[in-house]
Amino acid sequence: MKSSRTFPLVLAVAGVLTACSRVTPKTEPAPATPAPAVASAAAPAPAPVPSSAPVAGAPSAGTASTSVGDRLAGATGTVAGRDLATSDPRAVLTEMIFFDYDQSELRSEARATLDAKLAFLQANPSIRIRVAGHTDERGSDEYNIALGMRRAAAAKRYLVDLGIAESRIAVVTFGEERPINTESTEAAWAQNRRDEFEIVAGGTGNGPA
């Protein structure tokens, strides 16, 4: 499952090759690249990854996401310091957010990450996502299951408060059961206190991104 990080990029490039000759309609339903929908969040023990994975860093990706980029850049320009015109929608939608110890409040950078997702969700009403809350290994195992749900619900509530339909966001918790990093260090704990985001519907449209 470690290879899931490279999948969208490969597919995005493939998408460019077929998309260049076509005109992208404004009503394009799904900007996401046609990667497997289950690729990101369901990995039982994924390898450590950086908190922000700029998958769309490839030169061709800017062209690939032009239609989405145009819509979003016109509205907000940049989100969280990223140029939306060069962002891969799937990477933005699945980017994790992180929490403080025993907290479910959203940090400011987490809100910025959610703002970026908001733009894509607004532009693509068919996309539904699932938010999975996780905790570090400290504290009661059972309490952490509940804490993970509070973290998932915090992200959902933020997006719902900004206008995304509640029915488009499912929440689930894995407590401390599925750590990214199994070490017992502050750095590992910080990586594990997170929400993961998975596209469960609407992200596999066959049109070019």
């Binding site: 369901a42 025993d102 400290r138 504290g139 009661s140 195992d141 059972e142 309490y143 299951i145 509940a146 804490l147 749900m149 509070r150 619900a153 915090a154 509530r157 499912a170 929440v171 689930v172 918790t173 894995f174 407590g175 059961e177």
Partner: protein, 431 residues
């Protein structure tokens, strides 16, 4: 001690005479004679070697059970020692430090005839025949032998032992079980993934949370049939089930942004659960009933930190339990109400690590039991004296058993990491 025992065996051999049967006939059933038990004392019990192919196994299991019970001092000579066949040399056993002598005779029909002799009164005090269901050394057979140890403990101390019990636990995300003495460690058949197990007081069904990719919910599982029911909640998360001591109610936590406690009548799984707590977005979980079923202790984050609260089972009169003498890091969890009603055991953060403690419901006095490693998730044995808990002291998480009176611990599980121990009720209905 061993050497002394061997020296006296030769003398024992000479103690032939009156048949045991006639000593038993002279005893009125149910009458206590000289062997009295004072709490805190550990009367010596001499375990006579047992004849037969399984004799050593039976005696070894019982001796270990009595040691693990911490109420008796076991005096057990080598298995090669001579089995007395006639009149007991009671003064000899007294000199060995024995207040009682246990004699076990395996019968041709597979049962065991067990007699407790009162050394001071110099006569048999109790005798009973125990069925030992085959095959020998099977889990059912071992459970029956544990039952003998429990009855011996009751004969001497007035309190039934807890050897004939099992502990459920979680290993690799799946549900396992182990006998109270560490034998028969195996996955619970037909369950698979499970977290936070709990026993119904009849020992026949269990409940746990099952975590799946699309949600975590409470499942009630009947051990014999494997039949399962998912508890209906309408919430994306339900967890931490606990049965009331009368077996009529199941409490659990459910919710989304926060969790609240609910109760539902056992068996009435289609009825909407009754809400107990009003957490307003906080986490309220891990319910544990008082022995009378009227009060519930639980974990809550409603104060902005995790503490143990008490509430009436109908939701009235919520109050903070863990408030005093706990000024270090603000995190308490994993409450477990003792079967005698006197204490709530819990995990508390001390110097950044979790430790096992109890709080008295009478005066709120806190006693800390562990210091080594990370120690969590206590669960009481039915005797209200022993606890099983999770400890990292060996480098991996394993289950350990604590005697809350002596503070002594023993390791219960070995091998792959184990956690979330749940001690069963007594599993034999010996009258």
């Amino acid at each position: 001690m061993r050497g002394m025992v061997r020296r006296f065996d030769a003398i024992l051999m000479m103690g032939l005479g009156m048949a045991i049967g006639s000593a038993l006939a002279a005893q009125e059933p149910g009458v206590r004679i000289g062997l009295t038990y004072t709490p805190g004392s550990q009367p010596g019990i001499y375990l006579v070697p047992v004849r037969g192919a399984d004799g050593d196994s039976v005696r070894r299991i019982i001796a270990r059970d009595l040691e693990f019970g911490h109420r008796l001092t076991v005096i057990a000579p080598d298995s090669g020692a001579v089995v007395p066949t006639g009149r007991f040399n009671y003064p000899l056993y007294a000199r060995l430090g024995a207040a009682g002598v246990v004699q076990l005779v395996l019968q041709a029909d597979g049962s065991a005839l067990v007699t407790l002799h009162d050394v001071v009164a110099a006569q048999a005090q109790e005798t009973r025949r125990f069925a030992l269901p085959g095959p020998r050394l099977s889990p059912a057979w071992r459970l029956a032998v544990h039952g003998i140890a429990d009855v011996i403990e009751e004969w001497v101390t007035g309190t039934r032992g807890v050897a004939a019990t099992r502990v459920l636990f979680v290993r690799g995300g799946a549900l396992w079980r182990i006998d109270s003495d560490g034998a028969n460690e195996q996955p619970v058949p037909g369950v698979g993934a499970a977290l936070g197990p709990a026993w119904h007081p009849d020992g026949r069904s269990i409940a746990f949370a099952r975590m799946r990719d699309d949600g975590t919910s409470v499942v009630v599982h009947e051990l014999a049939s494997g039949e399962e029911r998912r508890v209906r909640t309408g919430a994306p998360l339900s967890l931490s089930p606990a049965f009331s001591p009368d077996g009529k109610w199941l409490a659990f936590a459910a919710g989304e942004s926060g969790t609240d406690l609910y109760v539902v009548p056992v068996g009435a799984w289609d009825e909407p659960p009754l809400r107990v707590t009003v957490g307003r977005g906080s986490t309220n979980a891990q319910p544990t009933f008082a022995p009378d079923g009227r009060r519930i202790a639980f974990t809550t984050s409603r104060l902005g930190r995790n503490e143990i609260y008490l509430t009436d089972a109908d939701g009235a009169n919520p109050e903070l339990l863990t408030s005093t003498a706990l000024t270090d890091a603000p995190y308490r969890a994993d409450p477990a109400w003792s079967p005698d009603g006197r204490f709530v055991a819990f995990s508390t953060q001390i110097d950044g690590r979790f430790q096992i403690a109890t709080i008295s419901l009478r005066d709120r006095a806190v006693r800390q039991y562990t210091t080594e490693g990370i120690n969590e998730d206590p669960s009481w044995a039915p005797d209200g004296r022993h606890l099983v808990f999770t400890s990292s002291r060996t480098g991996t998480r394993q289950l350990w058993v604590l005697d809350t009176e002596s503070g002594r611990v023993r390791q219960l599980t070995r091998g792959a990491a184990a956690r979330m121990g749940a001690w069963s009720p007594r599993l034999l209905s010996v009258p």
